[in-house]
């Protein structure tokens, strides 16, 4: 079987949108489900629209794609409004307020933006401004989830690089407030301060910034490859793919990228990002790049990583699960915590989580029922 045949339908279509024209209704049934579960329906719809195929697709398919298009464009519009409100709320802070991930792609007009769906805004601020920022937000209608117990609060505050998620009481928006790149207890020594070196102003949003291209890419890579749960793994990989293609066209980008990775201490996540974007999405980058990132993982470690990420970075739909999926998920979960915490802390934390999971009824997303 060729690599092309082994690829999930969703990946094949997103890499070569023209393929979609020849799909049967049964294929579309599956494709839409894979796209929805991977949070990539908006991207798929944008690609169909841009290729001019949307109106010629089978009749039952069109409303689904039009709905996804409408929803993702609406989200982008609401995001602008929300960031503008946040900017006003936090105007008194010295700043800078730096948008990360999805919000930065959309407001900065970057390649992953079209059709990007997201559930929260990620905002980075200097650590010393965190208490004031938190208070200001609480005063202006933001709040933490009710379900957080004291343990969760402590977990976030002592060991994490972000506060527990905040949400706005009236507007329902979610906000992740970051103060560092990765957890301060992380195994790999990192220089989070470096992220504040050269923020770029976002036009139309005074006081709001995005990271420069190298840092934006490194931050996204660090997140994906330190994350223990990857509900949006494939979408995040497509983000990296789009960023690499976009920034790769900028003069002198590649040497700056590797230099930056060494400076901040993110050579390993970049190495992994390059490996899996190329392996799974044919992303172009100069072949000499890998060698500049220091020694690769050992053979055994690499085989394990491959086995895990090949599974975790497939569409989050049952039709795409490979044997060993659950084991891979569990391994990545432990790895992420291993990277994140010293051993004693890790053991305590995992025990606690396992106990909660065994005894509580399963967590489910809350939805309003009509």
């Amino acid at each position: 079987m060729s690599a092309e045949r082994r690829r999930p339908l969703l990946v094949r279509v997103l890499l070569q949108p023209a393929v979609a024209v020849g799909l049967s209704l049964t294929d579309w049934d599956l494709l839409l489900r894979q796209a929805r579960r991977s949070n990539l329906a908006g991207k798929l719809a944008e690609q169909m629209e841009r290729g001019g195929w949307l109106d010629s697709l089978p009749e039952p398919v069109r409303p689904h794609l039009r709905a996804a298009l409408l929803l993702s464009r609406r989200q982008a519009q609401m995001l602008r409004r929300e960031v503008d409100l946040l900017r006003r709320t936090l105007a008194e802070l010295p700043g800078p307020l730096i948008l990360l991930k999805g919000a930065a792609y959309v407001l900065g007009g970057h390649a992953p933006a079209p059709g990007r769906m997201f559930s929260d805004i990620d905002l980075l601020i200097p650590l010393e401004q965190l208490p004031r920022c938190e208070t200001t937000l609480l005063v202006h209608g933001w709040d933490f989830d009710e379900g957080l117990d004291a343990y969760d609060q402590r977990y976030y505050r002592d060991w994490m690089h972000e506060l527990p998620p905040l949400h706005h009481k009236r507007r329902g928006t979610s906000l992740d407030l970051h103060h560092a790149l990765l957890p301060p207890t992380a195994r790999t020594p990192l220089d989070s301060r470096a992220l504040f070196d050269a923020p770029r102003a976002l036009p139309g949003f005074p006081g709001v910034f995005e990271l420069p291209p190298e840092d934006m890419l490194l931050h996204s890579a660090a997140h994906l490859f330190h994350e223990g749960e990857l509900p949006n793994g494939l979408r995040d990989l497509f983000d990296l793919d789009a960023l690499l293609r976009e920034f790769g066209a900028i003069e002198g980008f590649w040497p700056r990228l590797t230099a930056r990775a060494r400076r901040i201490g993110l050579t390993r996540p970049l190495w992994l990002a390059l490996r899996y974007t190329r392996m799974l999405l044919d992303t172009p980058w100069p072949d000499a790049l890998l060698e500049e990132l220091g020694p690769p993982p050992g053979t055994l470690a690499l085989r394990l990583l491959d086995a895990c990420y090949r599974r975790a970075l497939r569409p989050a739909h049952d039709s795409c699960r490979l044997p060993g999926h659950e084991l891979a998920e569990a391994a990545l979960y432990v790895r992420s915590h291993w990277l994140r915490m010293p051993f004693g802390l890790l053991a305590r934390h995992l025990l606690r989580k396992a106990w909660t999971r065994m005894t509580a009824t399963p967590e489910v997303p809350k939805v309003d029922t009509p």
Partner: protein, 316 residues
């Protein structure tokens, strides 16, 4: 083939294995379940609906399955799944039918943005549609069930699908969802109505479903043009009264009860503006069904409103 053409054991088996695909026009829904009594409930509520060939395109793949979690399983709970993803809190398996109905509504509300989706009872008479948007507890479903058994055609008791291009409302003639005291009330009011088993202790109290009347099911593919927007409110001991309201108030009632008004932005604003512009708009208070029905009969007998009042410029 219609659902009633398969016998119960075969339906149960098919639901357990691959699932059955129901044509709930304009949508196609595949339902899988390992709960035998859910198959029976579906057979009762949807017996006149068509089954779709296995190879056809399906809009929503849903399942109601016994909970795999040991604690939930011990408590006999069931879960709603939308295409491999669990949603909602697990509920007692006895409430499987209610959970399926809520789940299908949620699938539509979260995805079918080709329509402006309004949480409203929709009924039709003489080609004209009555929309009753209302929050829970307003007596909307009770009124809807009563009207549906007295000469009005049921399009929907919860979900009006407004086509923003044609201005027509589509319904699916799915079962009516009754709660608590409404259940014995409608049983007495319309003895011919077909009820599901009552499901006690749901988040909304006791719930029972009523199958849409035969004529409504037969005509379910025909949409209707909105003629009245009525905001109902049940008040103990109050005499029935139908009071005209400002179009703006009806507009707000519809917008508040819409699942995706915000998604549609300006297009949604204009569509609702056109809708209330061509409708008679009322508030309706009632406590007794007989009395209520006379008001609606009178409404239906009155000549259609002539050319609608012009809307203020900004609302067009």
């Amino acid at each position: 083939m219609r659902l009633q053409d398969i016998d119960t054991p075969r339906l149960r088996a098919r639901m357990r294995d691959g699932g059955v695909t129901l044509r709930l026009s304009p949508f196609t829904v595949r339902v899988r379940s390992d709960i035998p009594h859910l198959a029976d409930d579906i057979a009762t509520m949807y017996r006149d609906f068509e089954l779709v060939d296995e190879r056809e395109f399906v809009d929503f793949h849903v399942a109601v399955l016994r909970s795999p979690h040991w604690l939930s399983r011990l408590q006999g709970r069931a879960e709603f799944w939308f295409d491999g993803q669990r949603s909602f809190t697990p509920l007692p398996a006895a409430q499987a039918l209610a959970m399926l109905e809520w789940g299908i509504n949620w699938c539509i509300a979260a995805h079918a943005h080709q329509y402006l989706l309004i949480h409203a009872a929709v009924l039709e008479r003489g080609g004209r549609a009555l929309l009753m948007p209302a929050p829970p507890g307003s007596g909307k479903s009770t009124l809807c069930a009563a009207l549906a058994h007295r000469g009005w055609r049921l399009l929907s008791d919860e979900l009006g699908l407004l086509d923003m291009t044609t201005g027509l409302v589509h319904g699916m003639a799915r079962p009516i969802n009754l709660k608590n005291a409404s259940i014995p009330l409608i049983r007495a009011f319309a003895p011919e109505a077909v009820f599901s088993a009552s499901m006690p202790n749901t988040s909304k109290g006791t719930v029972a479903l009523v199958r849409a009347p035969q004529a409504s099911i037969q005509a379910r593919l025909t949409p209707a043009r909105p003629a009245w927007v009525v905001l109902p409110a049940w008040r103990a001991e109050s005499p029935a009264a139908l009071m005209p309201i400002e179009r703006a108030q009806a507009f707000m009632g519809l917008a508040e009860q819409s699942f995706n008004y915000d998604v549609h932005g300006q297009a949604g604003f204009q569509a609702l503006g056109r809708l209330v512009g061509s409708c008679g708009c009322y508030r309706f208070e009632y406590s007794r069904l007989d009395e209520a029905l006379t008001h609606f009969d009178r409404l239906a007998q009155a000549a259609p409103a002539s050319a609608p009042d012009p809307l203020p410029e900004h609302a067009r």
